[in-house]
Symmetry: C2
Subunit: 237 residues, 2 copies
DNA sequence: CGAAAGATTGACTGAGTTCAACTGAAGTGG
DNA sequence: CCACTTCAGTTGAACTCAGTCAATCTTTCG
């Protein structure tokens, strides 16, 4: 067992700063949080935090993708979101003054900084910019969740799959050096747990989509061939 | 058509102040928002705002219950939450700087105050107390939504109904002068749209619950007879 | 009193789950 | 380096939960 890597990354020069809520901070505030944080390289499949435990700070993703999920009845994962470069994790539990309501696990090798609670909260106090930014973001997330609930409640698995594929493509773009497949290392299980269906059902539908020339697959990779077709199938207006 | 009633209610003496986020304000801030707001009595079934329109301020419920819903494919309502005394409505769209993602409609006669955007945002700036309070509340809501999505995705309609009945009882308590039924004027349609199912299915399940002595009904009213039984049925641990 | 909305019941259908079996890929330790 | 386990992916078949359609009944309300 090797020791975990602890690279030093300054927030000021972080390549993901632009995508982060912290981009609204001025340089000396940035220096302050940069001093307070520590940075770790995680291997694929490592847990950042477990549902039910107490938050001690927030995680900020420098590089990589993390799945956020909740455990339902009999331990089945429901994936709530996938967070990537510049994304912040675990601040909701902190702000709500609650235990974590979800767990977070790396989907690939990740470089992630940890900012202790006190530093984060103090910065939030000092910067009304950041405060507003976070407020805005949480509110927007709430809007997304609302849509999610509605989709989950009213749409068929087929429609949900189409929507999910479009969203994934939209959010994470396409892998350029691999002729345009969705650039996430998701297992079929994971994908099923995003959509909220059984793995077998997901596989059958992917097969159907393939027959209909909407997508093509190569092992785990899914490539979207006909976005317009997916939109039509999803009954999006 | 009569003119709408416009009672004058001061925030300082509002009977729902205690249940509101504004309870964290000091008295002169309270006076400030009290001056800025207007108050209206709504009849049952009136719309406070429509999904897709721009928020001009926030609504604060002095008295009554409001359903918040999103329209899904082909106009089917998905009820996201029910807000009552002391509850704030429409601030999320404001904070997210977006159009309303949901609509709000009164479930009964309601007295509701309207606070213009500028007043609300300024108060938010001036009171870090209020700011924190709102932040906390939004974060908590996010947690509830997460649970909701998981339930929606993983649990059967039967389980969801049991959970929903327990929650309604829990949140809105029991109607004292009516031997303990759930104190909300929800149609079967509404209840189905909370759970995310067809009205007919809901009715059949209510019937089943009645046969199993878990609940009893009187017209629209539902009375919970065996909460423990519902908990068991819902597989809550 | 009639119209309209809400509530209920029955019959039918099908989307999606579950269970079971099998394949292929990928480690892993002897 | 190979046998062995393990995990991910796939396919088939049976079953069942829940949605839809249609008809009827009830209540409410102008």
């Amino acid at each position: 067992m090797r020791k975990p890597l602890r690279p030093s990354i300054a927030c000021q020069t972080c390549r993901s700063l632009g995508a982060s809520s912290f981009s609204s901070l001025c340089s000396h505030q940035l220096t302050a949080i940069s001093k307070g944080k520590s940075c770790t390289v995680y291997k694929k499949g490592q847990i950042l935090f477990h549902e039910g435990t107490r938050p001690l700070g927030v995680f900020c993703i420098n590089q990589g993708k993390v799945k956020v999920y909740k455990l339902g009845y009999e331990g089945k994962e429901q994936i709530i979101s996938i967070v990537h470069n510049g994304g912040l994790l675990g601040y909701k539990a902190l702000l709500a003054e609650e235990s974590y309501g979800v767990s977070a696990e790396t989907l690939e090798e990740c470089t992630i900084c940890f900012l202790p609670k006190s530093t984060f909260l103090q910065t939030l106090q000092e910067s009304s910019q950041l405060n507003q930014q976070i407020m805005k973001q949480v509110s927007q997330e709430l809007g997304l969740m609302t849509e999610n609930i509605t989709n989950q409640a009213q749409r068929s698995v087929r429609e949900r799959l189409a929507i999910t594929l479009l969203k994934l493509k939209d959010t994470y773009g396409l892998d350029t050096h691999d002729n345009g497949s969705i650039e996430i290392n998701l297992t079929r299980d994971d994908l099923a747990n995003i959509i909220g269906t059984a793995t077998e059902t997901l596989i059958r539908l992917l097969h159907e989509f393939k027959s209909d020339q909407l997508i093509s697959t190569q092992g785990r990779k899914i490539r979207i061939e006909d976005p317009a077709g997916l939109v039509r199938l999803a009954n999006l207006y």
